[in-house]
Amino acid sequence: MVTHLFMPNKQLSQIFFWPLIIALVSMAGLIFALVVDDARECLANAAIAIPVLVAIFFYWIRPLFSRR
């Protein structure tokens, strides 16, 4: 049964859930990279790379799978 014809209004917590996670992880990476100087730097760089990967995924990769 169709309950909503259109997408219902989202709550603030729903709107900001993913942006907040991405912001916290990348911020942690930016700071962590400042205090480590060894192999753990890769971990920090990975965290900083998350916004780039998310952008690439949603802009280029996802449309490839969702074309109707």
Partner: protein
């Protein structure tokens, strides 16, 4: 969120970004080559190689290096002596006609083992110099720096208001949804909102640290007034020394004062980081954080004796910690590339934002109902 508060935030977002966008585009474009300034210097052939020689025994004396630099550039006075992280066997001495000169700088690169002059890289010329000046002060000195600092502050306002406005625009959209089939306008809006929110942390950090950096000259001036003046109070009415004590002996005094630290750089008497009577010898630690935090040791330039040494005040610690977070030079090549990609994404956010405003400006919809529908859509 009420309609009127959305309208207020939209007004704040529109004007804070409109005022700074052109400058931010300039900063993003000039910042891009600056991320790789080291690599570009190498490609342009400005990098001076350290010769491979069979050297055993101690390093050359600091005094010998100073003499070599002065012989190379007669009539010039030394300003600072430092070395690049990737060339530990080189020392660079920057020089000018006077210690307060604002242009006409020279650099002499010396071999730390033999005190031989290895070369003189070009200063104040070339592509990278133009990029650097446009990025830092628009060729306008301190006023230019402070102006760009103000633009950076407006960017911070634009980012915060953009985050607030993200909510009403995303009420009916899933995260990352880009409406591609419903016209250029909506696609542009979705790309702007999506990329903007995704790079939020990085953009906030780079903008905020850029604003702090814009204040660096004033912070140094305040440090001179606040701390340096206390440290050199006994020298207040003395004439500047005419004969200088050994730099090597002064360095040994500093090393003895801070035995667990190593030499970062030396500021010669009369420069902003020293006093007319002192060598400012800046010692540093060797952990990722402490290697950026210098501790000044003031050594009397006439007698090579210790005058004072104190930790940096909080505002200079903030400045020194904020610098790598702005430059992106603290995590190797991977981080530099990430910085470059994030910089390009910022350019896309700025450009789509500008286009959204520009197109809307040219769009007049006479039908009031169509206008309401359109403005609800974005």
């Amino acid at each position: 969120m009420t309609q009127s508060s959305i309208r207020t935030w939209a007004w704040v977002h529109k004007w804070s970004s409109l005022v700074c966008t052109v400058f931010m585009l300039l900063l993003c474009l000039t910042g891009l080559p600056l991320i790789f300034h080291h690599e570009i210097g190498d490609w342009l052939g400005n990098h001076i190689e350290t010769p491979h020689i069979d050297h055993q025994g101690p390093m050359a004396s600091m005094d010998a290096m100073l003499v070599a630099a002065k012989t190379k550039q007669p009539g010039m006075v030394p300003l600072y002596m430092y070395r690049e992280e990737d060339e530990p066997l080189q020392w660079v001495i920057s020089m000018a006609k006077t210690t307060t000169a604002e242009s006409g700088f020279k650099q002499v690169v010396l071999d730390a083992r033999t005190a031989q002059v290895l070369g003189e890289p070009p200063v104040e010329e070339g592509f990278m110099y133009v990029m650097f000046k446009l990025h830092v002060d628009l060729f306008a000195g301190l006023p230019g720096m402070l102006f760009l600092g103000l633009m950076g502050f407006l960017l911070l306002v634009a980012i915060v208001s953009g985050v607030v406005l993200y909510a009403p625009f995303m009420r009916k959209l899933a995260f990352g949804e880009i409406r591609r089939q419903r016209g250029k306008k909506l696609k542009r809006l979705d790309v702007h909102n999506f990329l903007g929110i995704v790079i939020l942390s990085w953009a906030l950090v780079v903008a905020a640290t850029g604003v702090i950096n814009a204040w660096s000259d004033l912070l140094i001036k305040y440090w001179q007034f606040d701390q340096m003046s206390q440290m050199i109070a006994p020298y207040k009415n003395l004439p500047p020394p005419e004969k200088f004590a050994s730099l090597q002996a002064s360095l040994q005094v500093a090393q003895k004062t801070e035995p667990d630290m190593q030499l970062g750089f030396i500021a010669f008497p009369g420069t902003a980081y020293a006093s007319p009577h002192h060598y400012g010898i800046f010692m540093r630690g060797d952990s990722p954080i402490t290697k950026r935090l210098f501790k000044p040791v003031l050594v009397d330039a006439r007698t090579a004796t210790l005058t004072d040494s104190r930790d940096l005040p909080w505002y200079l610690v903030a400045l020194l910690v904020s610098q790598p977070l702005h430059f992106g030079d603290y995590g190797g090549t991977t981080l530099k590339w990430l910085w470059a990609v994030l910089d390009v994404i910022t350019i896309i956010v700025l450009w789509t934002g500008l286009m959204l405003w520009w197109k809307k400006r040219h769009q007049y919809v006479p039908d009031i109902r169509a206008r309401i529908t359109l403005s609800e859509a974005y």
